[in-house]
């Protein structure tokens, strides 16, 4: 069952990057089931970090993340592993596994999950087809263009039908047609009840069909525009 509501409360998180220490402060924010939220803001404002916090890739240094009222940010490592099974994430740098074909990359999230190998192979083919990348299935990912790699990474994010879909700059290498295709896939996920959170600089997404809300990050704080 999809999440009804994911909330962030008093989140404070700092990290070091090339330009020194950066920080993110989120006093309160909520994401509802079936909604698509766009996070914008300048580079270093914490968009990626916020997605990683929501995806359970890192624990917040203070504050809480609640899913349907349960503080998932306090969970143990084993519980957080299970949390991540409900999350699909498209990384800003794609993070495909070189040395594997596109379909093998898309298969990766499904491997430890229940279900037959045959069903998983079908699911992978469907996910690639949904993003228009079925012809790339048997190609080595290191030989793909930036746009193709991004489509494969998107297929990998949606293949497990996640309840929380996190997309970090999903359209940065795409033409307008593919931007529409990506938004269509996101809308399908929303229709299932999934929460979709997209972090992007891309002006084509601002006000696009299906975006329900936009949060602007900047100056280390985030709030409703």
């Amino acid at each position: 069952m999809a999440f009804a509501r994911i909330e962030l409360k008093n989140i404070r998180h700092t990290w070091r990057d090339g330009s020194g220490e950066s920080g993110l402060s989120v006093p309160a924010m909520a994401f509802e089931s079936g909604r698509h939220v766009l996070l914008t803001g300048p580079t270093g404002s914490g968009k990626t970090t916020l997605l990683h916090l929501l995806g359970g890739l890192v624990r917040p240094q203070s504050g809480e993340i609640l899913a349907d009222g349960v503080a998932v940010s306090r969970w143990t490592a084993a519980h957080r592993d299970r949390w991540r099974q409900r999350v699909g994430i498209l990384f800003q740098h794609m993070e495909l596994i070189d040395g594997l074909n596109a379909d093998q990359n898309v298969m990766a999230p499904l491997v430890p999950r229940p279900g037959s190998v045959r069903d998983k192979i079908v699911a992978v083919a469907e996910a690639l087809a949904k993003v228009g990348a079925e012809t790339l299935a048997h190609r080595q990912v290191r030989a793909l263009s930036g746009g193709e790699r991004q489509l494969v990474a998107l297929a990998r994010a949606i293949v497990g039908h996640p309840d929380l879909l996190l997309l970090d700059e999903p359209t940065s290498h795409q033409d307008d047609d593919h931007v529409r295709l990506i938004l269509d896939r996101v809308n399908e996920a929303n229709d299932r009840g999934a929460i979709v959170i997209t972090a992007s600089h891309d002006p084509r997404l601002t006000g696009a069909v299906g975006i329900d809300a936009t949060h602007v990050l900047g100056g280390g704080r985030v709030g409703e525009p």
Partner: protein, 383 residues
């Protein structure tokens, strides 16, 4: 975890291993070589000790030989039997007829078949050699033309070979030539009133040591007395010396294993980004460890089995003779021995533990350590 997930993990592990077939094969080959070397050395030492010890334990409690300033000398039969039987604790005394003779291919041990020995040969399915006949060990060269053998001793005799003992008694009988007692006395220059030595039996092992002084004093001439402990000590002493050489040869094998383990540790530790990525997909620490375990075992188990099979064949298959020469420094070509497999299971378990244990540690510990870290650190750190 359900069977679908298990199968998926197995297939994934196999496929992932297939991404680096050269590396997997090379690693497996090195493990197989190390296991072969380690197991051959340890099995050979263990099997040779066990076989020799069991042979010695089947022999007499004590052996008494007459010594003179110039070396061994025949024992006067009746007087020697009387002296030995006079010692309290001695339960039986058997005179033995044996000694060295020459053949065209070198020295051989000639044994005269006395009644107790005759019984033992019959148990093996051989009849005692008649006059002019010889029953020979598997290492004795015989003329293929007329199945004869010529022995040069005090007297030269040519004998017809009536049978060849099987290779599974080669450790005891490799260079032995069993002759009729009369022929043996002729070759060795022993009269009917002399014996080469006496086999003395006592009630139990500890008595052997206790009766030695009395036995020594009972003879009117100097004698040398050896018991089983002396004989086993001689074997162990030889193995300690030769095993030292083998141990030195083991050093490069263990060094190779250590390098392999260090390399595996580095390799698995180096794949932190991939481990982080799998964590972001929802793989649990258990899933990652299972895949790593499958891959580690897929390389190490066949390699170890191969190494053990080769080692087993080299040590226990009759006819393979060079491991003893190479590993234990035997100077002459050793006979094609058939060694006992008693105690081999422990050696095999030791070798498996020595190889598989560190290998699994080297591959699993870095994987577990990485899998316990935050995926964000692993992905960002590995980029």
């Amino acid at each position: 975890m359900n069977s679908g997930a298990w199968w998926s993990l197995m297939l994934w592990a196999a496929h992932d291993l297939g991404r680096r077939p050269g590396s997997a094969l090379l690693t497996g080959g090195v493990i197989a070589l190390v296991v072969t070397f380690l197991a051959t050395t340890l099995l050979l030492i263990e099997a040779w000790t066990a076989t020799t010890t069991s042979l010695i334990e089947a022999g007499p409690s004590l052996v008494v030989r007459r010594v003179t300033p110039t070396g061994w000398a025949p024992m006067p039969l009746d007087a020697s039997l009387e002296s030995a039987r006079s010692v309290t604790g001695v339960t039986a005394v058997e005179p033995r007829i044996w000694g060295l003779a020459s053949s065209v291919d070198g020295p051989l041990t000639v044994v005269g078949v006395t009644p107790p020995l005759m019984t033992e040969l019959e148990v093996l399915g051989y009849s005692a050699p008649g006059k002019g006949e010889a029953l020979v060990g598997s290492g004795v060269p015989i003329s293929s033309l007329d199945m004869s053998i010529t022995l040069v001793g005090v007297a030269d005799v040519t004998l017809q070979v009536s049978g060849v003992l099987p290779s599974d008694v080669a450790l005891a009988a490799h260079d032995l030539v069993f002759l009729n007692e009369i022929d043996a006395r002729l070759v060795l220059g022993l009269s009917a009133h002399e014996a080469s030595d006496l086999a003395v039996s006592v009630y139990h092992e500890a008595e052997g040591t206790a009766v030695r002084p009395d036995l020594n004093a009972a003879f009117r001439f100097p004698v040398n007395i050896t018991d089983r402990r002396d004989a086993i000590g001689a074997v162990v002493g030889t193995l300690t010396r030769d095993g030292g050489l083998a141990t030195m040869l083991l050093v490069p094998a263990l060094l190779a294993m250590a390098l392999l383990v260090a390399n595996a540790w580095r390799d698995v530790g180096g794949s932190r980004r991939d481990i982080g990525l799998f964590k972001t997909f929802g793989w649990s620490t258990g899933d990652l460890v299972r895949v790593q375990l499958i891959q580690s075992l897929a390389v190490a188990v066949p390699a170890t089995m191969t190494g053990l099979a080769i080692a087993w064949m080299l040590v226990f298959r009759p006819g393979v003779t060079w491991p003893g020469a190479l590993l234990l420094g035997w100077r002459t070509p050793p006979p094609p021995l058939t060694l006992t497999t008693d105690g081999a299971a422990l050696v095999v378990a030791t070798v498996v533990g020595l190889v598989i244990g560190p290998w699994l540690l080297a591959t699993l510990v870095p994987a577990i350590r990485s899998a316990l870290a935050d995926p964000d650190d692993l992905v960002r750190g590995g980029r």
